[in-house]
């Protein structure tokens, strides 16, 4: 099996890139291939995921719109027939909303302060 391919993006115009870049670099250092998109709308993320045939989509959110954003993204991924890709969310999700992410099709959620190694392990185990 080749390198695990990861697409990393953040919602829209929000500029808090620190977490996304730190995680992206950690995954690269762990031997994965990472495409960093920066702030993007869901359609761009879904299109790029399809074109680049990535294994994993990582969304780093520090924006209050994560529910709307992820709802749109998961539905686009379903429409494009790529819902099976591992969808991992990191950043700020209000604790009450975390169970809703799973219902919507998010595979893993890592809050701020998560151990970086646990993210790497989760992705390695999740991509079969």
């Amino acid at each position: 099996m080749g390198k695990i391919r990861v697409l990393m993006a953040k919602p829209g115009y929000d500029s808090h890139f620190r977490g996304a870049v730190v995680v992206a670099t950690t995954l690269r250092n762990a031997g994965m291939e990472v495409i960093y998109l920066g702030g993007q709308q869901p359609s761009e993320v879904a299109n790029t995921a399809l074109q680049e045939d990535v294994d994993v989509i990582g969304i780093s959110t520090l924006s209050s719109t994560y529910m709307e954003y992820l709802t749109e993204l998961t539905s686009l991924l379903k429409n494009k027939g790529i819902a099976e890709k591992l969808l991992v969310v990191g950043g700020v999700v209000i604790p009450d909303d975390v169970p809703k992410l799973k219902e919507m099709g998010v595979d893993g959620y890592f809050p701020p302060g998560s151990d970086l190694v646990s993210i790497v392990d989760y992705i390695r185990n999740g991509v079969k």
């Binding site: 829209g12 929000d14 670099t25 690269r28 998109l37 719109t65 302060g113 151990d115």
Partner: protein, 553 residues
């Protein structure tokens, strides 16, 4: 364990360092400050080199301004919040503007979908500014207009037009525009924003030039190292970058050769720093920044006006130090960081709220932030005397070391051709990312301990906090508001003023006179930034998202 350490004279760690990695000795003695010359290196407050503070009386004359950054949903909700804050005793406002407006899009634009009311208040015309400050005495209280690079001129013009329409002389309007193009470029992820940094520098320069003549109490730019500190750089890089960016804008204005000297416009510069976790390093940083600025303004620019040499600054406690876990603990972090700012000689302060790692602050959380500052000002007596840590072997030695390292970083930026060039080259972003990764690695290995995150964790936090939720209808409401505005205003007048703005922008004249007219005609943010920013996009596209993807290397 520790007992036996004491017996053996052993220490808990092999090396002790500051948060930025500066090695710290067990104890500091007169030898560490043997070279310190009181008059040359410190001096009294209010005198060159201003290490001890910029004013002769500091907090004995005037307490620092309690300036809380805030903005939520639309103008009306923010007006309610500001009134509450004013009632509780804030002495300054700072407008947090939503993501759509920061980029320069109106709520009825397709580009604004999902971005209206996100991270702040939607402000796209003078009407919003009027409603936001309805019933608030802007002649008595100063406001910081915290926008981003694309909207520096229009957002400032909206606030100043509001003041003029209320009959306040522009010469008396007190406040600050943050709009530091250097900072935004350094911290934003809109890496491929095709609007050339140079055009943004020009617009910022226009505001500086125009305010120097027309609104002399207004601070047209606040160099904001806070943003790149939060994004990753350490304490000494923060102030090295701060000075480099301010120098770059001096060069921009001087290069126009329109007869202004540094003493005409630099007295209006202001600065915005972070206050992070390392208590003494932060205090040393603020003292070092003042001394460094004074030296550069004196040696390089031969400044004569004392105000040109004074680094006046706002501090925001460091949002990135706040934890998602056990959020109530954040109140304690904020209190220490606020104390550091007070001991560092700050002019205005935003104390973050304990829930900021989770959401826009609730009223309850904001109240505690204001009270944190009031307790500091009214009960702790730290305001009794100026720069109380001066003369401490440790603090003076650390101030020297932070300044030395900051100066090195400043020179590295200069070696890359100055701030704007270093930004265009991607070098600054690289430095920022490198430090952010190092910091995270230190947390992972336990070298850097964060309570509730990598030590003293809890399965379940016993304290429950409430969360702020933005208005889910905000996009629909603001879209309707934008459509209504465009129907009701005099559109011929709007077109006429926008044409005038375009002519000024093309000719290289200062855009502010035309911008003020356009704002007063209720031209919108998007209409104005189409002219001054998006026309300059290399690709001719309206999207800011082109060619953003890159491989992480």
């Amino acid at each position: 364990m520790e007992k036996s350490n004491i017996a053996k004279g052993k220490e808990r760690k092999e090396v002790f360092t500051t948060s930025s990695g500066i090695p710290i000795k067990r104890i500091y003695t007169p030898e560490d400050v043997a070279d310190l010359d009181y008059n040359r290196d410190l001096g009294p407050s209010g005198e060159d080199p201003y290490t001890r503070g910029i004013y002769p009386t500091m907090y004995r004359g005037k307490l620092w301004t309690i300036r809380q950054f805030g903005g939520l949903n639309a103008a009306e909700a923010t007006n309610d919040r500001y009134k509450l804050m004013y009632q509780m005793g804030v002495t300054g406002f700072a407008i947090a503007i939503d993501d759509a407006s920061l980029i320069g899009f109106d709520p009825d634009s397709p580009e604004a979908e999902g971005e209206v009311g996100v991270g702040g208040v939607s402000v796209f015309s003078l009407k919003d500014m009027e409603d936001m400050f309805d019933g608030l005495p802007i002649d008595k209280i100063s406001t910081a207009v915290i926008q981003a690079i694309n909207t520096t001129c229009p957002h400032t013009a909206m606030y100043l037009a509001l003041a003029e329409n209320r009959g306040i002389d522009l010469r008396d309007v007190d406040g600050t525009t943050e709009g530091d193009p250097c900072s935004f470029g350094g911290c934003s992820d809109l890496k491929a924003n095709p609007a050339p940094v140079r055009q943004l520098m020009r617009l910022c320069g226009d505001l500086v030039e125009w305010c120097a003549i027309n609104a002399p109490k207004w601070h047209p730019v606040s160099f904001t190292s806070y943003n790149y500190r939060e994004a990753g750089v350490n304490a000494y890089q923060e102030i090295g970058g701060l000075v480099a960016s301010a120098v770059d804008l001096i060069e921009e204005v001087l290069s126009r050769d329109r007869g202004l000297t540094v003493d005409d416009f630099v007295p209006h510069y202001t600065f915005h720093l972070a206050s992070h976790n390392d208590f003494f390093e932060e205090i040393a940083k603020m003292r070092a920044a003042r001394r460094m600025w004074c030296k550069i303004m004196t040696e390089r620019y031969d400044a004569k006006d004392p105000r040109t040499k004074m680094l006046r600054f706002h501090v925001q406690t460091s949002g990135s130090t706040l934890t998602y876990q056990q959020p109530i603990n954040n109140a304690i972090r904020v209190a220490y960081q606020s104390l550091a700012a007070a001991l560092g000689g700050v002019q205005s302060l935003h104390a973050c709220s304990y829930d900021e790692a989770l959401c826009i602050p609730t009223e309850e959380a904001v109240t505690l932030s204001i009270r944190t500052q009031q307790i500091l000002q009214n009960e702790s007596n730290v305001t009794n005397t100026i720069d109380p840590l001066a003369g401490s072997y440790y603090v003076e030695s650390l101030t020297n070391e932070v300044e030395k390292r900051a100066m090195d970083f400043f020179h590295q930026i200069e070696d890359h051709g100055g701030w704007t060039k270093a930004l265009e080259l991607g070098w600054l972003r690289q430095q920022t990312e490198k430090e952010a990764i190092k910091y995270e690695e230190e947390i992972r290995t336990g070298k850097r301990r964060i309570v509730g995150v990598n030590c003293f964790q809890m399965e379940e936090d016993p304290s429950k906090i409430t969360y702020f939720r933005p208005d889910p209808e905000i996009y629909k409401k603001q879209k309707a508001r934008a459509e209504k505005l465009k129907e009701e205003r005099d559109n011929d007048k709007v077109e006429e003023t926008l044409n005038e703005l375009r002519d000024a922008d093309d000719s290289g004249e200062n855009v502010m006179p035309a911008m003020m007219k356009a704002v007063k005609a209720y031209a919108t943010l998007e209409e104005m930034t189409d002219v001054t920013v998006r026309r300059h996009f290399a690709s001719g596209t309206k999207s800011i998202f082109s060619h953003l993807s890159r491989m992480i290397e």
